[in-house]
Amino acid sequence: MLEVRNLVKHFGPIAAVDDVSFAVPKGEVLGFLGPNGAGKSTTMKMIAGFLAPSAGTAVICGHDILARPLAAKRAIGYLPEGAPAYPDMSPAEFLGFIARIRGFSGREARRRIDRIVERIHLGEVMNQPIETLSKGYRRRVGVAQALLHDPPVVILDEPTDGLDPNQKYEMRRIIAEMAPDKAIIISTHLLDEVEAVCSRAIIIARGRILVDGTPAELRQRSRHHNAVRLEVPIGSEARIRAELEKLPGVAAVEAVDDGEGRALLVFTHASRYLAGEIAELARTQSWKLTTLRVERGRLDDVFRAVTGAAPELAPP
């Protein structure tokens, strides 16, 4: 439904987006990840037809955004970064204007506005000027505007930014609900959001795609993937650690004291699955374990590793 072909955008000598290509089929929610200034928003602006690419193009439902911008824009629902909306208008007036531009009038316009307002819970603020609304409501007005015409391609730039946890949950539910019959791209800083709603993630930095895969595939690239977490009595920690380090396949053992408590983390070579051997060792040596758990891997590891903030990364 959406195909991005070799998009390039130069701002003076800087390549903000450098040869980005990907396709999003129907039913997929693509998470666009990357540090600030990585080129996420610039890419989205080009797909939505706001910025002209320096090279490459995007094809939306068969319509090239450069050759047939109107047809392509009709097929897109776009929430720009920061959810801009006319501050003097109320959500009712604003959505009325969007409905008119999208070609709906009379009863059809009212029906569509009512439906989206109910779905996004805007009812109680419909007649207040948008400038008086909270950040969360403004963001929802922006999302309502993007979804009003039920577009096949939805591009949301940071849809949950500024929302409280309940609103975030609600927004993710809305995205998940419409996912089956749309192609959706969302950009986000939040890695848990990718896990929660995305069926695929792209990590972009300095304008280039660094990683493209499902969240599970991404996690496998984390050094925490298949690491084993052991919670042991403090007195026996040193002894157990020494034993674990002797076990073949163990790359490193680290003592951690994170939010979940004090524990030993056993990293394995090439993220091999070693939980069986470790459990066996614990039984033969009669360790008093309170927890033994296999880690799935952490997206923030992968994110930091591929975007250059952390050096270590298990080979894929």
Partner: protein, 244 residues
């Protein structure tokens, strides 16, 4: 057409959504009255016409019209709504024309609200209403030309104050180019063709011609080409500067 109408309505309503519209209309009417009755010696002239009223319009518009045009694009760029606006399925020229028409229509409303002046002269005497109608047309066309200029300037900046000042300065040049003071600077050394060109490029000359009651094709063509030319520049500037 449907899009143009939708944008036009939104833009026109936007003037009335803030106090801008009311402040503008009140100040416009008060200034027009003050200039006509005190500076224009409306009563002392003892003639039933609105010449005292229309003489001051170029100077009145110099100050007030840029205040209408300054927000057209600068506000959209400042608040980021331009990204929303230009990713809707509309053509750029529809957007440019609709915004201009909304501002021009608003100027027309303000101008129409000066009808008590017209009523007054008709009550006091027997004026040539054809001349008055032509003068109203000239005034509205002049407002349109300055608005189109202002819309283009507004597209080039995010800052409404800059848009206002630059528009007023450029409009000043366009207007005074045809006054006798400026033309006098050229007289004596410049060839006649240059003087004619300067006078011909000026809003003042064409405005004065129409307010005398002669609606000539050349004058209409002049205003139309100013408007079309500035709107074309407007579209180009929006496209160039929208992402800054």
């Amino acid at each position: 057409m449907r899009n143009t109408l939708a944008i036009f309505s939104r833009e026109l309503a936007a003037y009335f959504a803030t106090p801008l519209a009311y402040v503008f209309i009140v100040i416009f009417l008060v200034l027009a009255g003050v200039l006509t009755f005190f500076l224009g010696n409306f009563f002392e002239r003892g003639q039933a016409d609105l010449q005292a009223f229309f003489t001051f319009h170029p100077w009145l518009y110099l100050v007030l019209v840029p205040a209408l045009s300054m927000r057209l694009w600068a506000e959209e760029r400042k608040s980021g709504t331009i990204e929303l606006f230009l990713t809707l399925p509309i053509r750029l020229r529809e957007a440019v024309v609709a915004k201009f028409l909304a501002a021009w229509c608003f100027a027309g409303i303000a101008l129409a609200l000066t009808f008590p002046f017209w009523v007054t002269v008709n009550f006091l005497g027997d004026p040539d209403n054809g001349v008055i109608l032509a003068s109203y047309l000239a005034s509205w066309l002049m407002a349109g030309a300055i608005l189109a200029l202002g819309a283009a300037v507004s597209a080039a900046t995010k800052n409404q104050v800059i848009a206002f000042v630059v528009t007023a300065a450029l409009a000043f040049v366009l207007i005074v180019a045809g006054t006798s003071t400026v033309l006098g600077l050229f007289r004596g050394w410049a060839p006649e063709a240059v003087i004619r060109a300067v006078a011909g490029a000026s809003i003042f000359g064409h405005y004065s011609a129409v307010t005398r009651g002669v609606i000539a094709f050349a004058d209409l063509f002049y205003f139309a080409s100013l408007i079309v030319g500035f709107l074309a520049a407007n579209a180009i500037l929006v496209d160039l500067k929208k992402a800054d």
